[in-house]
């Protein structure tokens, strides 16, 4: 089984978000970048397939040279090879087109991506890859088993879960549940050393026009101060008379 894990390189969850160039660009200054949390759950599940079922695991990112440390981290966690498609990630569509090319070239059986990236929160790249490559797609995936040519996937739905059977090739939009928080791996020294010599291929992008373009960013307006109630009675009255939510 050949697995591709799509890795989005995103600001660490504790980052303060700022913009530059007249609020048209994200300000990288002082921001730590990490593997998108949803992708880390997927990568860890892929390691399970590697160890238990002999899968070969590749990771891919669409981005500039600055994303390579993130790909090296994925290699240190245990991926076999990495691919960087050398293009600044603009909209979800143009990213999906690049990844779909990678998938078609190497005929992956399983593509594991995240439900959404925590930067642009598009939640569109995995579904688009599936549709562009003619694979099945399961979103908000919280459990995945593969047996021969057939996968059983569990998907989170509003208020519960649903179990699906699908033939490969399959693309998933994964999240926590694929593995638990405690299963996540911190790269060890041996992994880090090995990662240095594992292949990191750089691929030039195919042409794909962005379908959407960000014109301007805005930060939310600062909110007013909290109103502290001195009694539970007062709180109930505030919620009823002032906030009108009960």
């Amino acid at each position: 089984m050949k697995i591709l894990v799509c890795i989005s390189h995103v600001p660490d969850t504790t980052s303060k978000i700022n913009f530059t160039d007249g609020d048209t660009k994200f300000d990288n200054n002082g921001v730590q970048f990490v593997i998108n949390p949803n992708d880390e759950f997927g990568l860890t599940r892929a390691m399970w397939f590697k160890e238990k079922q002999g899968a070969v695991v590749h990771v891919a990112n669409v981005g500039g040279p600055e994303t390579e440390p993130t790909l090296r981290k994925a290699l240190a966690i245990g991926a076999d090879e990495a691919i960087r498609i050398n293009m600044a990630a603009t909209d979800g569509y143009s990213v999906a087109v690049q990844l779909a090319e990678v998938v078609k070239d190497a005929a992956y059986d399983l593509v594991i991506a995240g439900r959404e990236s925590i930067d642009y929160n598009g939640g569109m790249v995995p579904g688009m890859i599936a549709q562009l490559t003619g694979a099945h797609f399961v979103n908000t995936c919280i459990g995945l088993e593969v047996d021969g040519n057939s996968a059983t996937a569990i998907r989170e739905i509003d208020g519960g879960k649903e179990t699906l059977k699908a033939s490969l090739p399959l693309v998933i939009g994964g999240q926590k549940g694929l593995v638990e928080e405690s299963d996540l791996r911190i790269p060890n020294m041996r992994g880090i050393m090995q990662a240095r010599t594992k292949p990191l291929h750089i691929k030039e992008p195919v042409t794909a026009e962005a379908e959407t373009t960000v014109d301007q960013f805005e930060k939310p307006t600062p909110r007013g101060a909290v109103k502290l109630a001195t009694s539970v009675d007062e709180l109930v009255q505030l919620l009823h008379n002032e906030a009108k939510v009960i």
Partner: protein, 320 residues
């Protein structure tokens, strides 16, 4: 030309987000000088969508579509968009809409922008305002495609009455089996879900242990609310993962969010920013959550919550 909107239903009943997307679609149609057509898959009482602004409903009834099927649903909406010559397609932020949106975008060669919070900023060029960076910022983005798909953020626009008369038309397309099937659905029917809830009662590590959740559930019950929790609470197995809210969990866009014994870490706040009114109950006046809240009580949850339950019961009986 028209504005097409997909209206999610469950067991025939339209969800509140369906009413919200139709209300929004009517606003967009007014801007563009056109009308709204809704696509309903196994929805009942379709004419009621007129109340929110749909002039036409394309009604699909098909027993093989009782379980959600993203590929088939996307195909139906695609066909409807072609039939109606739709320039704008509007979807909700419900799990099913988010699932099918990218498939539909590829089929229609349409740009897709999710988490849209306002009516379009302009129609030529077509620009919308949406949240990015887990609600830590907004972006104004422009579509470069002839067909545009908007994913409306939950509870951002609200339900508006428009009183249009809806013509209901049968819409049947051939669905072919596609090598993917639902094996089982496991769903609590008696609980309010975080996705649908108007009010969410959420608790954190300040509750000390899972055995203390009785009062949280009771509070949720008086309020008709869904229960939620912080990440460590679900990681420790005190509560199910499905209740974890935040940047790496579920987003909450309710009218009222009550946070009990939650410190207010940046990752937690990112997930609940789009809730309208936030109330914090915490015994530490320095807890960061107070800076992000509208109302608060500094106090011990173990005394405040039971008292709140009592007062709310009294309040409900007086205002019933």
């Amino acid at each position: 030309m028209s504005v097409l909107v997909f209206t999610e239903s469950e067991e025939g009943k339209f969800k509140k987000i369906a009413q919200e997307v139709v209300s929004y679609a009517k606003g967009v149609a007014d801007q563009l000088g056109t009308t709204v057509t809704a696509v309903s898959i196994n929805g009942e009482h379709n004419e009621e969508l007129g109340k929110f602004g749909a002039s036409k409903v394309l009604m699909v009834s098909d027993d093989s579509l009782t379980n959600f099927n993203a590929e088939a649903y996307a195909e139906i909406i695609q066909q409807a968009a072609i039939k109606e010559n739709a320039q704008v397609v509007i979807l909700s932020s419900g799990a099913n809409s988010k699932f099918l949106a990218p498939l539909l975008a590829i089929e229609l060669k349409a740009g897709y922008i999710p988490n849209v919070t306002h009516l379009p900023v302009s129609s030529t060029p077509f620009k919308v305002r949406h949240t990015v960076f887990s609600n830590k910022a907004y972006a104004i983005s422009e579509f470069n495609t002839p067909i545009k798909i908007i994913g409306l953020a939950k509870n951002a626009f609200g339900v508006k009455e428009n009183n249009v008369t809806a013509a209901v038309e049968r819409f049947q397309i051939e669905i072919t089996a596609n090598g993917m099937e639902v094996v089982s659905v496991d769903k609590a029917t008696d609980k309010v879900t975080i996705a649908d809830a108007e009010i969410v009662v959420s608790a954190g590590r300040g509750m000390k242990g899972p055995e203390n959740w009785g009062m949280i559930e009771e509070l949720a019950k008086v309020l008709g609310a869904a229960t939620a929790c912080s990440k460590p609470v679900s990681d420790m197995g005190w509560r199910p993962h499905s209740e974890h809210v935040g940047q790496t969990g579920k987003p909450v866009a309710s009218n009222l969010y009550i946070a009990i014994g939650i410190s207010g870490a940046i990752q937690h706040l990112a997930g609940i920013n789009s809730s309208k009114v936030k109330v914090v109950i915490n015994n530490d006046p320095e807890a960061p959550f107070f800076k992000a809240a509208d109302y608060g009580i500094v106090g011990d949850a173990f005394t405040v919550v039971p008292e709140l339950v009592e007062k709310l019961k009294e309040f409900k009986s007086q205002n019933a």
